[in-house]
Symmetry: C2
Subunit: 121 residues, 2 copies
DNA sequence: TGCTGAATTGATGTAATCATCATATCAGGG
DNA sequence: CCCTGATATGATGATTACATCAATTCAGCA
């Protein structure tokens, strides 16, 4: 468990968890798995429209971060969430975003006066 | 609100939220703010031990992601969480990590046979 | 006005992540 | 055994994030 290793400082471990979640395709995958208990790679290929190797690489990082587990049955590989709390985490994030976005919406006019800031340090 | 903009697809917005959280220093800052309602930059400098410009840049990304808000009173700038749910999100993450890490711990011996994988695609 | 402390911004080199494409493994079926 | 479908891994170039240091703004005070 190299990435979420408890010998590291706690805030680094937490940051790593969020890094594992910090990509649209991976969120997609986790939401699919949140809704269906388990899913084959083929299924997820169809659902996401990704190229096979691309999906596979994101699945690899999810595995590496300990967020999903996989099991091979015959020639098909099935994935599932490693912990049910992951969907809980996504749920809380969804609620939070709901609030952030409605706030943002009500302030849209004010905020629109600002230029886009392309870079994030 | 360029980063968490609701005109983007939802899973991209969520990924952006997690990106904002995906750094140890930023987790540090958010936890400080979770515990103290508001904190000045000077305070956080002392708490984190970071260099001023470094902290300031991370505060900038937190602002950019809409996770914190700042207010200047006299010559001191105070930060606070933009939404109380952010500490809830951190709390859920902490619980999840607790589970992941104890699982990992019980499997330590098995897992230790694996080499470290440096790269994350 | 010009100092000083507080905080932010800008510039630059380095490292990590991403997307794409090619190649490799792995498990049956013929 | 080799072929084919299903997945995974490797290599490469492009983009983005990070750390560091210099320069700037900003508010109050001498």
């Amino acid at each position: 468990m190299a990435v979420l290793d408890e010998r590291r400082p706690l805030y680094e471990i937490k940051a790593n968890l969020f890094k594992g979640l910090a990509h649209p395709h991976r969120i997609r995958v986790l939401e699919i798995l949140s809704s269906t208990d388990e899913a084959s790679v083929t299924t997820m290929l169809a659902d996401t429209g990704l190229e096979a190797s691309h999906l596979s690489q994101h699945l690899a990082v999810l595995r590496r971060y300990g967020l999903v587990v996989s099991e091979r049955r015959a020639s098909v590989v099935y994935y599932r969430l490693a912990h049910p709390q992951i969907s809980e985490l996504l749920r809380v994030a969804r609620v939070l975003l709901g609030e952030i976005l409605t706030d943002a919406d009500s302030q849209r006019e004010l905020v629109n006066s600002l230029p886009e800031i392309p870079d994030a340090r």
